[in-house]
Symmetry: D3
Subunit: 255 residues, 6 copies
């Protein structure tokens, strides 16, 4: 990713600019949920659960289609200094709303609602510990939880044997420009320094689901945008492999 | 934008794919606000006001920097069917939160907070009538209201004569792919049919401030993304001209 | 209204004590609502929309009667200094509640609910700019919006050709005593100085629907009350004429 | 009040049209409040407490003036069928807001805020049992509680011996037209049948503080309005006597 | 209760350690509720109403069982210094929630829900004046109100003549250790000084329904716990007698 | 615990009536909090964090004393069926309030607030997975997190070397009577069947901090209460040992 003759750039945690943090995916973490995964992107840990229920919200009744929705939240001390609970404040903040909606859209992009039938998947992504990239870890882990919940529903015959609600896989990663260098999967200390910050959600086939780029410092040009997109697609390709490997393993006894 | 030999595509309202709707900017609409603009993108009408106050939020006290923040809302009958008021529901929806934050970030990207001094600009964008593109019209109109409020503050000597808080202009436009064709500035009937929907915020110099692309239908590939970005930058360049023309005119007596 | 030999009292804006401000009524302002009017009483501008829907609230189901309800709100920068949004505060203030209820009662007083049938008219009055008398402008404009929505419903055959839900017209005006002189249609600078402030809602036939008089400064006697009522009824008679004229014109193409 | 030759109209509870219900005022009902009164207008029972505190709300700081504010509420089973608690609903209804504001304005009309000094009187009116006229009983009882709290404050030397914060007394009564006859102090069964309903707040000197007339059924004419005002002023004159008698008695040992 | 040779301990209000305050129970206080009681434990006065309605909450539909639920609240000036209303704050505090739940559980413990049939008893306990022990007075008074509401329902034939929904009586009392001495029915000044504070809910047969002991100061040992339980059971036995006596009297004409 | 000649009672999960579930305490689970522990009581898993901050709430300012407060919450899918988030509902439920208050009181009982100095410990207990006894696991784990946070503060010299804010240890366990047999540490399936349910909070020295017994089915007698207290104290003694062992180990590198 860096130019040929330049000295190699090494990040604070020893990574190269185009390297993901260590990613672990612990399937079946929850004894109760139909699907679940505890995912970590380095110091970021997100517990993703997928709750499968028969029936759909009222506005979808009788249309022969299912629904996928998501909620994201952070434990109060997931971060370096404690945040007040949104339940105590009595209102959900804009950031929480925004990320919940992003996760929901990202997952719906790879679900065939007709094949899901009149069933609902409620995804919950709770950040237990935060170190940057919580929304991208959440999407990546939520896909695994959702896949397991769909398999569970197939086992329960809530979804037909020939139905394939999952039409692709989906994962997400953050990218940003720091001191002029595009970097993959920003940790928190990098995120606060980034001039430009982008979250990219892509399918296993390499298509974009969401591209959200923001100039945190100076506005960015087309060339920078292109290099960030390149980097992000390489990252989601790696995450896709990790999701496949996790789902290929047999589920732990916990489930 | 369309391929050479293809028959010209004409949209429902008679526009070509790369054509903006009629845009009008009525400066000084509000008798009370320090800056204001009633902007319309076709049937979308947004009243943007900029309220200038001395002082900053507590967390910025004593840092010698200013602040710009924004709130977006829609009148209940701005849309085809009435929406319940968020004040009556007692909570702000995720969409409102998301757009308010987007407007705030977009405006802050072109403001030099040191030059603004310890002053706050509160932008309000209220959609009086909605026909697609309300957030992009809001950003485009809010810039004009903000520019007038800064001039007002300069007149009041709240901002020094040599300070130039505005380091660039900013505008925004939506683009989307409909039936395979990239189109600029989607009206509501187009927006609901778009496979991919993107909002692009760019500066007068042609740099990106925000790129938010969402696959509403099928995920999109890199080539489609590129064509949407081209179209959007052409659109924001036109909007920049319209902003400049509006600001060049002398302000109506109403202000 | 002033005593014979006294020198003529001229108000800050050049009006005589018994003179209304300039009143304009722009019908069909909203492209979406079944009825709408942008009304101005001098610097006070209120957008009134009437949303017609089939069906009634649950508690009225099956009684063969319709319902009319209203909500009033102010844009945050409608006033000289910005007010926090009630949606952001998460609760509606007492003043907003009080005025919404007043508008609803005033409109219901001239509607024959049986003739309306099991249909609901939801009136929204949003103050775009405030300069005193926002509630009276709202009632006066809401009547026009409501009348248009009823005509629309008749055109749609939701209301029978022989049904006349409107049994009278309704308008409202404020009156007050300033420096001992009763004055009509107070602007904001007058309103804050008034010793006594009264809002009167009356029908086209000159009957009272609401009389709300408040001693802001010193309590008032019977003679003062009487002179205020005289002044108010003259004002609503003029407003009735303006409503009739507005409704007599053919509706603009916008609707 | 009734015409000479007409047969006497007797109301459901045996009263003549111009007769108040039995009114009782129990001063010093609360052991804790600086002033308190349990007032009953027939079956309507309202516990009024006046809490005296040094200091004023922030917006009044340093102006040498005091403040009087009021809150009104109803116990859930004060009425014939139970109402949900506003604390459980998480929001205060419009009616509650409206009445709280009315009580506050009414009391402030007879208080000289300079003489009160930088002190606050918080009035609470809680309806223990409702049978019509709760707001008028609340105002009438609140005056007594407030008078006692001011005496208490004088005893504590929070108010100077020569200061007379109370510049008049205040009481309130409802009037309405039922089957064409104006009647005083409506009980609940009368209130729901009234064509026109008016609440009048007046001082001991017979001046108006508030006049709130509402056409519940048909709009009313000037003659009806006049007869209601006559009736109301006779009622508040009687209530003034009852307040004076109550305050003339020595306070029970409970206080 | 005190050791043989020790000098008798006399409490601030003249009671011995094992003595209840004066308890009064005024049945039928409310003209509207199906059952009601104004109970006082010394200076603590709680108005308890029982509202009987046919039908049950949705989650109990069709199970042939009834439901009993309770809400507790305090008037703002029931206490020595005024508390803000929970309706105004927009949220119910933890203490209120906790006590409401305790009252509901306590009452349900003596009701045979099958015998109650598909009916609901909503109990409201509103503290008019507080001087310690408000929750125990509330439970004790609520039982009486509930018993009367059940008799009312039997009279209305909503409950069969042979059904006996009340399988026992229930009352409650507080106990605490002050300066090393266990004391019964703490007044407020005692409550704040207690090292250990316990609320005991027991049936007329002397069985425990709830035991809630809290070390306010130092943790307590088993012997202290035992002496508190002894004292509490003696207290609830006395309260049971008072409840029986109150219910044996014929109901006042007010009901 | 069972009588000599009776056949041994074995519980669904193979435990004897007086046996705790497997308890694990993972100290230093959170990278950010000053103290933390992931505790499990069988299938119940609670993440406890202790956040140390200098300063105290306003009402304690300048008194030379510290403060300890706690919040409890459950992830939406911690349970067998999903619960709506309290942040989304906009209000905290009674159960959550009640448990948060219990945890706070329990921890404060073993803290010398003078020795803590003007510092605050905010404890957060988030139930990641629930299988009965979440509040008792929370208290037991919270003590460990709090102890580590105090050690951290000592290391930072926020607490003096000679100060010993912890005057005892504290743990908690549930007990209940099932089919007439008292049992220790109920799992969820046992909890729903228990006739009587008691939570006991005790110090390491064996003194009671809280005793909360509730008759879920039939009221209980003194003998049953005594046997539950015996069982609980044996349980908290075992938990005290486990806490000591956990705190004796050196903290993992994660912290």
């Amino acid at each position: 990713m860096t130019e040929a003759s330049a000295p190699a750039i090494i990040r604070a945690d020893g990574r190269t600019p185009d390297q993901l943090r260590e990613v672990t995916i612990e399937r079946g973490w929850s004894a109760h949920a139909e699907g679940s995964a505890l995912i970590s992107f380095g110091g970021t840990k997100v517990l993703c659960t997928a709750s499968f229920t028969n029936g759909v919200p009222r506005w979808l009744n009788g249309k022969g289609k299912g629904w996928v929705t998501a909620e994201y939240a952070m434990l109060p001390r997931a971060t370096n200094t404690r945040n007040d609970r949104e339940s105590v404040k009595g209102r959900i903040g804009g950031r929480t709303h925004e990320i919940s909606r992003l996760i929901g859209r990202s997952l719906r992009a790879v679900v065939d609602m007709k094949a899901l039938g009149e069933n609902t998947l409620q995804i919950d992504c709770d950040v237990l510990q935060a170190d940057g990239g919580t929304r991208t870890a959440a999407i990546t882990g939520a896909y695994v939880a959702m896949a397991d919940a769909i398999e569970w529903a197939r086992g329960q015959k809530f979804i037909g044997q020939r139905s394939t609600p999952l039409i692709d896989t989906v994962s997400a990663v953050s990218v940003g420009i720091i001191d002029g260098t595009p970097m993959l999967d920003l940790a928190y200390v990098e995120d606060v320094r980034a001039e430009t910050d982008m979250n990219v959600v892509a399918t296993g086939r390499g298509l974009f689901v969401e591209v959200q780029g923001t100039a945190e410092g100076a506005p960015f040009d087309r060339r920078e945008l292109d290099s960030l997109l390149d980097l992000a697609l390489a990252g989601t390709a790696s995450l896709t492999e990790l999701q496949r490997a996790a789902l290929a393993a047999s589920l732990a006894a916990g489930e």
